[in-house]
Symmetry: C2
């Protein structure tokens, strides 16, 4: 099969040249006047001197404009400024040299010049050069075609409302975009059912393309089916690679074409595609392999990895106190949103057990690290208002951005103490009835700190719509099933404080050990009837259509070092939290008070 094609020059941007190209024309293709004035034979002018001007007669010159072709036997141009016009001709005051003020034929490009070698990738200006050199078409390497086959009984397009057990097929959108960015054409197949005959027939059809990728469904043994098919149609090379996520990948050669079976979980599919398929595409396209953009920084959490696998850990990158801080995020293979929100991968080698907290590591970036110095690293308690701030920053054209990880109030304060974040959102009720002061004594006894009041929140018991268990307060909760928040979360601290006052033991609360890391996740579990109640903020209950039993008002504050207040990003943040736009958007969520938003308190140990 011919790997080459001939295309018009104007379509050749970023395409790869297949063979040396020589100029067919010189450019310019004629000598031309480089000035407005007259063209003449230089020898006519030899006698002219400053003090003894020479009259050149009309028959011996021609008036010319810049760009006019030089007409033989003229070989020189005198600028209009250097002439005095007379009736019979022009006076000149010095001799003109041959080729003076003439743009020579071939000044830009000379016919037969080697313009571009094989394997050259055409840039915008190259296209102009080609056209100027008389070349209308170029022979380039064809873009490789990749067939992408999504499979799985559970997959649907999402056009109709989901039935139980159905999943929207979404992996192909990501893989198609990655393939196109890598220089491939994509042939996307419809979803194929988990049925050997159907799969076989799809793969056979896909072998018309240059590379075949099949995405396994998530059901049991599906990767076994992929490898069976590979064995039937060609040579199975690999079944299962030492990669996490991505272990169940399959690699085979079918009719001389690469066949890759990808796992169905989006993060695993992303990693295997990047690791195995993108390099293949670029090689077939004769494009250079992607340059990996890397960044070094210190880990804000320990990363434990198995010795038997190479592992890709999603991370976020921030710059705190002059150093890059690398924060590992979620590690589930199914968590596509955490992949979308991450900046890159920390790759843990196969023979490594991982890294210690604080260790210097290198990260491969997959996102452009936009304005890293304007990022505010926010680690601690979760609230939906943090997302909202980013949206407002973006809408107002600000470059500041919050990158937040939700570890609970206490862990956030520890991170702040270790200079691993800029801001720690916290709402820790102290024995003195005040929020955050007591907790800050634990960490910042000798420091000067500040607290930015973000919002007041109504905390309470979240119960399903209609309150089926008729819960009226804390004392009704014993024996009811629940979903809890993670250890160190302010909401958990609050709940433990309140239930102990009512002598309710953790053992009396089925589900006490089941943890969620956000208010919305708690409200979701309640709204689905998975549990009888959860504890959280009114805004989350409302958002998920749950009922809410009010318990207390609390201050949700951003803790920071006092000296940080001076930074432009923090100032931008404070200004935003005091704005009408902020208050309006927060009010729409419901269950918040913005009366104190943007006010600042100080703590001095």
């Amino acid at each position: 099969e011919n790997p080459l094609e001939t295309i018009p020059v104007r379509q050749a941007l970023d395409r790869v040249n297949s063979k040396a190209i020589f100029a067919e024309l010189s450019s310019p293709s004629f000598h031309s006047c480089a000035m407005d004035g007259i063209m003449l034979q230089s020898k006519t002018s030899l006698a002219a001197r400053e003090h003894r001007p020479l009259l050149v007669k009309k028959k011996d010159y021609l008036a010319c404009d810049t760009g006019d072709p030089l007409i033989a036997p003229f070989d020189s141009v005198i600028m209009a400024e250097d002439l005095v016009e007379k009736e019979e001709g022009v006076l000149i005051f010095k001799p003109s040299h041959p080729w003076e003020h003439i743009r020579s034929m071939g000044e830009d490009i000379i016919e037969k010049d080697l313009l571009f070698t094989a394997e050259h990738i055409f840039s915008p200006v190259d296209l102009s050069v080609l056209l100027a050199a008389g070349i209308k078409e170029v022979e380039v390497y064809k873009k490789p075609e990749i067939a992408i086959i999504p499979t799985g009984d559970e997959l649907v397009s999402g056009e109709k409302p989901l039935q139980g057990g159905q999943i929207i097929e979404s992996n192909t959108a990501m893989l198609e975009a990655l393939a196109q960015k890598s220089g491939a054409l994509v042939k996307r197949f419809p979803v194929i059912k988990d049925n050997k005959e159907a799969l076989l027939s799809a793969v056979k059809k896909a072998l018309a393309s240059d590379i075949v990728v099949m995405i396994a469904g998530s059901s049991a043994g599906r990767d076994d089916l992929t490898s069976e098919i590979a064995q039937e149609l060609g040579e199975l090379l690999v079944h299962g690679i030492a990669l996490r996520p991505g272990k169940p990948a399959v690699v085979a050669s079918l009719e001389g074409k690469p066949f890759i079976g990808l796992p169905g979980y989006p993060v695993a599919a992303h990693i295997v595609f990047q690791e195995l398929v993108v390099p293949l595409i670029r090689k077939k396209a004769h494009l250079p392999q992607e340059e990996k953009r890397k960044i070094k920084g210190s880990l804000t959490r320990r990363v434990v990895s198995s010795l038997s696998n190479k592992e890709y850990v999603r991370v976020q990158v921030g710059r705190v106190a002059g150093s890059y801080r690398i924060t590992p995020t979620e590690r589930g293979a199914g968590a596509s949103l955490s992949l979308a929100r991450s900046d890159g991968y920390l790759i843990v080698a196969r023979n490594s057990e991982g890294f210690l907290r604080g260790e210097e590591v290198e990260v491969v970036l997959h996102n452009r690290l936009k304005n890293i110095d304007k990022r505010l690293v926010v680690t601690g308690s979760h609230d939906m208002v943090l997302d909202l701030i980013n949206d407002l920053f973006a809408q107002e054209g600000k470059e500041s951005v919050l990158i937040s990880s939700h570890v609970g109030s206490l862990a956030g304060l520890q991170n702040l103490k270790d200079k691993e974040c800029h801001l720690a959102p916290s709402h820790l009720l102290g024995g003195d009835g005040r929020y955050n002061y007591e907790a800050m004594d634990l960490f910042f006894k000798t420091e000067k700190m500040a607290m930015i009041h973000l919002v007041g929140r109504r905390q309470g018991i979240i119960v399903p719509k209609g309150n089926p268990k008729n819960i009226k307060g804390i004392k009704d909760l014993a024996g009811k099933t629940m979903i809890n928040r993670q250890r160190g979360a302010g909401t958990r601290v609050l709940f433990d404080y309140l239930r102990k006052k009512e002598n309710i033991l953790a053992e009396d609360l089925p589900g006490y050990e089941k943890e969620a890391t956000t208010h919305l996740a708690v409200a979701l579990a309640v709204s689905q009837g998975d549990v009888d109640f959860g504890i959280g903020i009114e805004a989350a209950a409302r958002t998920m259509g749950c009922d809410f039993i009010y318990l207390t008002d609390e201050a949700y504050e951003l803790i920071l070092y006092k000296e940080s207040l001076a930074s432009p990003e923090i100032q931008e943040l404070i200004e935003l939290t005091r704005s009408e736009g902020f208050k309006k958007r927060v009010k729409e969520l419901g269950g918040y008070s913005t009366k104190m938003s943007g006010s600042i308190k100080f703590y001095e140990g």
Copy 2:
């Protein structure tokens, strides 16, 4: 006019989101089994112990595969490995906790989650996230449309053979590609003649687009016409900017839309477009401004610039002896090929007179600096074989590449001495009748050097086809018009040596002062009948269809420090020059001898 449009998610790659997007569905949208095994109510399993297995009856569990939806009231999964099957049911050996081995609804995405803020640029994985969250369409900023109007009586499409004074319209190909890469849609106009009515009507039509760019023809006063039109249709803001090349640019606001008049010379058009139009496009597209990739290095030549302009000087970048070396290339505004071959621009500020040789400067790159450490910087004499080597390197998949500038043999040796290049191609005839040794005594008396024989060349007199002046040898040249090579070029040294032996003075050779920097340029001038003769190699004469009068054989050698021989790139080069492929391609050019190609001589002062 509405700057927004709604598009399907699968088309949203690299597009800019216009408003916050919240998840419409949770993903997964149901609780599912994370293992193959059974699902059961955890409370059923409470009594199970290692030493006292519990029988779970068939009515109390359901077999499940990974991915199966969890069915109420079951709340837990036990892995198949932890079961022993019996007739009446299964034996289990430890209690199962609520939610054990269950992938929770919303594990990836929770309904109502803020997925993407306004101004977010969609990446491949983002598309998957959107689909998984039940979102089928997104509202994004429209791509701005730019109208590009080429103008000029002299411009033609190049479909028909060129007539005298015609120029192929090629600027639009470059500008269209630059605009597309910057995120715009392009409306390209046909060439408009230099006629005010026609231009006015084209611009009026173009105002349907968001940005209008008009490229001036090269004829006199054309930028005045552009500014006249701008004044007639709106507000002329700028006519003539302090930029070189690019001075005649025009900026105006017509019906509230930006109108930019670009100069017709390609390099000037490129600079003004990059400087003024690309930032406009990106702003209208809500894309971040391009990050300028920069590199620092020392200048290999002095750069003189005027105080009254900001100047863009094209440069090539190489790495010699551990430092980046910046070499300015041609400065003519019309030289598009030199722009295509350059790596970036050295920008000389308006109030600067330029830079000294050796000064550290910063360069803005416009090309990916591919394999900079594999670049061999070649400075000195010119030969077409140098281009050919790059083509062979590329064809054979080698990463080495020569970047050559043609300054003549002598200047090349000076550069080598100053560690500003790796290789200096030279063919300087000494008084001893040997090539290069005598010249090397001038520079390298105390050094250990090597000379790689590249090719043997036949030097001679190049005359027009048919030899109209009947030139038979040097002695016939007095009084004939010629084109010379630049000072320090080996060919000029040879010619001066030979003509002096025949007592021919420079004054007897009209055109002796007219210099070309390559053999092909000399042969082109001869082939056009501009001059009676030039001196150069047989290959150039043949290529241009000229006649050739043989004078002498000479060695064209690459001079280098002996220690450089050890580098892998030099080894690759030597290997190549000894290959059959090289010899075959050189032979096709004609007029070369490859008998000695790749042989090495040493020089030790």
